[in-house]
Every structure is written in C-alpha cells, then in structure tokens.
C-alpha cells in the first residue's frame, strides 16, 4: 500500500531508453494495442459505429414500410431486432439513424473547438484586459447549467435545419474546452521558441498558427473528441425534449418516439427503446476511451503500465 509511490515500475516508462527503438521495430500500432487495451477497444467500437452509420445504409437500401399487423414483433430472420409500434423494422432504423447524429456532432465539435482554440489561445498570448474579460465571460457561461441553457435557447429558436443544430450545440459547448486550451497555451508560452518568436516580433497570427498551434495538435484532437461527446449528449437531449423540428431517422428521435409510446414500460417493446440507447452509449464510451488513450499516448508522464 505504501511503497506504491516509491515503486520503480510506477516511474514513467518513457524514460526507458529502450522504448523508442523497440517501438520502431514492432510498429506503432502493435505497441499501441499492447500498451493500451481499453484505447484499442475504443477505436474498434468507434470504427464499427462509423461503418454501421456510413456504409450500412448503402448495404440496406429501400424504405422502411410499417405493417400494422406486425407491431412489436420479436426478433426474426426478417426483422433482426423486431419491429416498433408501427411495425417498422428496428434494425433498419438503427442502421439509417447514425449519420446525422455523427455529422452534427462533428460539426458542433469543430465549431466549439474552434472557438475555444482562438479565444483561449489569444487570451493566453495577449494577457491583460483581454484575458481577464475572456476568463470572466467563460466563468459566467460555465456557471449557467449548460443543458438548461441549451433547452431554453432551443425553445426560442425554431430548430428546423441541421446547421442551426450545429450552431446552437457549438455555441454552448466551448467553456471547459476554452479553459483547457488557455492553460495549455500559458504553459507553452514559457518555452524558448515562443519567447524567441515574440522577441523577433513575428506578429500574432504567425506566432499563433505557426508556432503555438502545431505544438498542441494532440491537445486539440483530444478536445475535439471530448467536444463530440458533449455534442452527442446535448443533441439527444434536444431530440428527447421534442425541440427539434426535423423529420427523418436518427437515434435521438427513435428514443423520443419510443419514450412517448411508453416503450420502456412493456416487455414486448424492450428492444425498440434499448437498441438506440445501446448504440449511443457504445458511441459515447468509445469516444471517452479514445480521448483517454490519446491523452495517454501524448502525455507519457501519465502513463501507468
């Protein structure tokens, strides 16, 4: 119990000079798979969902006709996951329901990551009044419960296009990311090459885009992944609340319809509500595992095994 702090195996393994040459010999991917099992599982789950959502619809064309004589049918050869309250195939809805969720989440994550990078990095580089203002504003937005803000905003704005959905999710999703980026840039700012660039007076855009950002790409990728989990969480909430007036097939709408039909109260309709919940949970879990794995790879000091 006690010796764990002094245990030599707990020391950062990056310090081991053998690691790099070994990594070259065995290939980056194999090393990653060996060292980071949960991250590997995360990547596999994520690619499986990407395949399902983007390739699946081409393998399963046609439209999903309802059949009122075959409502809440159990799984069968025709209906892999059974049917819903209108006799529509559930598996078909799962296959066709992922694309818009993933695209909107990616769009919102690009927007929120962009906002947090630009303002977080500028605040750290410029300092002074600008920094104080950005910090104060972020603090205020962070205090307001994000989901409630999202719901209230969506009640006032008619959400009838995917772009509005991206906009509203991106504009409410940046505060934690901004603080993280700002802290990261503050620590980069102390490095010699940034100080040199500042002394040479290379200009703010050049320092920002050529010196600072390339050195925190890993960080940006991690934040992007986390931004996606936040956007998926918020997006499904908006569908659940019935505040998005968009037709079509997606997992959020499926959950909302199943919930409104009371599918969670009956044993026959179990798969109808469980299937979309399961895919969304697997998707979120895969993203969380990926972000942890990336952190582990780029931040060897945190590595444990």
């Amino acid at each position: 119990m006690v010796q764990s702090a002094l245990d030599p195996t707990s020391l950062p393994s990056a310090a081991d000079p053998g690691t790099t040459s070994e990594a070259k010999r065995r290939g980056v991917i194999r090393t990653f798979v060996d060292h980071n099992k949960s991250g590997t599982i995360g990547f596999i789950m994520f690619f499986a969902i990407l395949l399902l959502a983007f390739v699946g619809p081409f393998l399963m064309p046609g439209d999903n006709r309802g059949d009122y004589r075959n409502v809440y049918a159990p799984p069968s050869m025709d209906h892999f996951l059974g049917t819903d309250y209108q006799g529509k195939d559930i598996w078909f809805q799962i296959v066709h329901g992922g694309r818009s969720i993933l695209l909107v989440a990616a769009g919102a994550a690009i927007l929120s990551t962009g906002i947090s990078i630009i303002f977080g990095a500028l605040a750290a580089l410029l300092g002074g009044r600008f920094d104080a203002f950005v910090l104060m504003f972020t603090d205020v937005v962070l205090t307001v419960p994000g989901i409630i803000l999202l719901g209230v905003l969506a009640a006032f704005v008619r959400l009838n296009s995917p772009f509005l959905l991206v906009l509203i999710l991106g504009l409410t999703g940046w505060p934690t990311l901004l603080l993280a980026v700002r802290a990261q840039v503050l620590s980069l700012k102390e490095r010699e090459y940034i100080e040199a660039a500042r002394m040479l007076d290379l200009g703010l855009p050049r320092i920002l885009f050529r010196e600072v950002l390339p050195n925190m790409m890993s960080y940006i990728v991690i934040n992007f992944v986390l931004g996606m989990t936040g956007a998926i969480y918020g997006q499904v909430i908006l569908y659940f609340l019935g505040l998005v007036s968009l037709a079509g097939n997606n997992w959020g709408l499926m959950i909302q319809q199943a919930y409104v039909q009371g599918a969670h109260f009956f044993k026959d309709s179990f798969l109808y509500i469980f299937a979309p919940i399961f895919v969304i949970t697997v998707l979120q879990l895969s993203l969380v595992l990926i972000s942890r794995a990336l952190e582990d790879v780029f931040n060897p000091r945190l590595r444990e095994s």
Partner: protein, 361 residues
C-alpha cells in the same frame, strides 16, 4: 470532459491568488471577488433572458398579443394589458424602459404569470417545486463527491492492482452513459424486466398524506421518493471524481513533505489523511462548478423520467408547452441557485485552503 479541464481550472485559481497582491485591499479579498462575480453572473443572465425574449424573431410577447387579438377579438390595449400581466413587460414602452421595469420586477420576485396553468404566478410554481430539486441534487452532489474522493484515493494507493483496473473500467463506463439514458435503463431493467424496483410507487416527491414535518418518517419518505434520481446522479458523476482524485492523490504522494513525514515516523494513517488526502482534495474544489451545472442540467430529463416533482420536471413541461414566462422564470431561478451553490463552495474552499483566505499575503 472533466479530466482535461482540471489543470486549467487549478491554474486559474493559482493565478488569482498571485494577481490578488495588486490593487486595493478589499478587492484582493477572495470572498469579496467571488461575491462580485456571483452578482455579475445573475445580472448578465437576467439581461440575456430579457433580450432573448424581446429581440429574437418571433418575439413570444408580440405573438401572444396578436393571437389574443385575432382569436378572441380583443382590442390591442386589452391584449397588451394581458401580455403585461403575464410577462411583467409593458410592450408600449421603449425597450430600455421595459428592461429597467423588468429588472425592478424580478428583483421584487415578480416573475409574471404562467401561460399553461392560468391564474398561477411563476414565482408560486417555482417555490413549490425548487426545494425538491435542491434536496435531491444537493444530496447526490455530496454523496458522489465524498465517495468519489474515497474511491479515487483507494485507486491511487492500490495503483495497477486488480481493484484499480476494475474501478477504472467502472468509471469509464458510468462516465459515458448519459444520465437520462441511465434513468430509462433503470426503469427498463430493474423496474419492468426484473420487477425489483416499485418505480410507480416511488413517483412524486412525497407520499400523499405525508405531512411536511421535522421527523424521521418524513425524512425516510422523501429519501424513498428521491432514491432513483439521486442514484442516477451519483452513478453518472462519481466516475469523474474518482479519476480526478486518483491523479491528484498520485501527485500528492510524490511530494517531499509526504516523504519527510514518513521519514519522521508519522503514523501511516495520519500521513494518508492529513498529509496526502487533505492536499489532494483541494484542487477538486475548482471542479465543483462543472459538477453542479452537470447534475442540475441532468434533472431536466431525469426528473420527468422518474416523475419526481422537482423543478426539472416542471421545466420539461414548460419547454414542451412553450410556456415562455415560466421558462424564463425557472431558468433565472435555477441559475441563481447554482450561483449560490458555487459561492458556498468558494467559502468552503477558502476555509480549507488558508493560502486563498488571506489573498496571498
């Protein structure tokens, strides 16, 4: 999201400590600055709501007036009088005066009337509901913070053990399930499939016939009804605390004062509680803002799913009926509650960390 933000928030706190050495002495007082920030937040949020209601296309006040005129044949004066009593906004005045009026009204607790339940004021509705949410959310926050920290310390001491990997997997999985989906899953599995939880009986905030009193039976009853929402909040937020506490404890274990204390022969339990635990827990306080907001936001969906009669369930209804006065009133009051909770956390933090209390001097 919480893991990455942790170092960011701690660094702001550190800077604040450093920067507080400048300026007039009362400004450098940590508590004073936090109180100022709390007031500013409330002011900005109420301003934001006002302009959201009045300036967006499809202004609900104007829509309401037009509706009254076309549907019920009211004259414009009658309709705008009705709108004034509903929203506490007088549309015939210039926007700036309307805004000042609105600020005066809300500071007197006048939040207008509900559209969906005619004859009831927004303040009454909020007053009857918000305490249940404060009770359930507050209990959940305390439980997940305390047990999350204990488990996180355990994970740090037993690093790389079987227990550590089991707890890590647990925290990853529970961290990934959205709280409202977990609520549905609980009803689905434990309520309907297995029949272990009498979820229909547990609906509501108190049993009918139970008086609100200061007794053990009352406490037992309200805990019984709040059990499901509290469980969901705790399960979905405890993973974040566990991971934060684990990394915080690991870095505290490497500090020189821990080694020195051990070398001096301080008993191990004393080292763990007073040297490691106390210092490891401090950075976690800066995370409370995010945690409070997250759980309160979750109540918007978790309460209606379990039919728990808190403010989240009422907001859910108001959103679906587009009851704008109620919507803006609840949003404002929930924000004020969260701001107050944050301020309380700040006070506690400054008690625990003497470096902040004195403003760095």
């Amino acid at each position: 999201m919480a893991e990455i933000a942790s170092d960011a928030l701690t660094s702001t706190a550190v800077e604040e400590r450093a920067s507080s050495r400048r300026g007039p002495s009362f400004l450098s007082n940590y508590i004073f600055r936090r109180a100022l920030r709390a007031l500013l937040t409330v002011f900005l949020v109420s301003t934001f709501i006002f302009f959201l209601v009045r300036l967006l296309p499809g202004d609900p006040v104007q829509v309401y007036i037009n509706q009254q005129m076309t549907q019920y044949g009211y004259s414009y004066e009658e309709a705008s009088n009705q709108a004034r009593s509903l929203y506490s906004i007088d549309v015939d005045q210039p926007v700036l005066l309307q805004y000042l009026d609105y600020l005066r009204n809300i500071s007197q607790g006048d939040l207008g009337m509900s559209l969906s339940s005619p004859g009831t004021s927004v303040a009454e509705i909020i007053q009857s509901r918000i305490w249940w949410t404060i009770f359930s959310v507050g209990t959940a926050l305390l439980l997940s913070f305390i047990f999350g920290c204990l488990l996180g310390m355990l994970m740090a001491y037993r690093r790389n053990s079987f227990l550590d990997s089991v707890l890590s997997a647990f925290s990853s999985i529970t961290h990934s399930i959205p709280n409202y989906l977990l609520a549905i899953l609980i009803i689905l599995f434990f309520g309907v499939r297995l029949g272990w939880i009498p979820f229909t009986e547990m609906r509501g905030a108190v049993s009918s016939g139970q008086e609100v009193e200061f007794s053990f039976t009352f406490l037992k009853d309200i805990l019984y009804h709040a059990f499901l929402p509290i469980s969901v909040y705790v399960i979905t937020s405890i993973g974040g605390w566990m991971l934060l506490m684990k990394s915080s404890t690991i870095s505290a274990l490497e500090e020189d004062y821990v080694t020195a204390a051990r070398a001096r022969g301080v008993p191990e339990w004393r080292v763990l509680i007073f040297y490691v635990g106390r210092n490891a827990i401090l950075p976690l306080f800066t995370q409370l803002t995010i945690a409070i907001g997250f759980i309160v936001g979750g109540s918007l969906l978790v309460e209606p799913i379990f039919t728990y009669e808190g403010i989240g369930q009422r907001l859910f209804g108001a959103l679906q009926k587009r009851d704008y006065p109620l919507l803006q009133g609840i949003f404002l009051m929930v924000t004020i509650s969260v701001v107050l909770a944050n301020f309380a956390a700040d006070l506690l933090y400054s008690r625990l960390d003497p470096r902040i209390r004195s403003g760095g001097s």
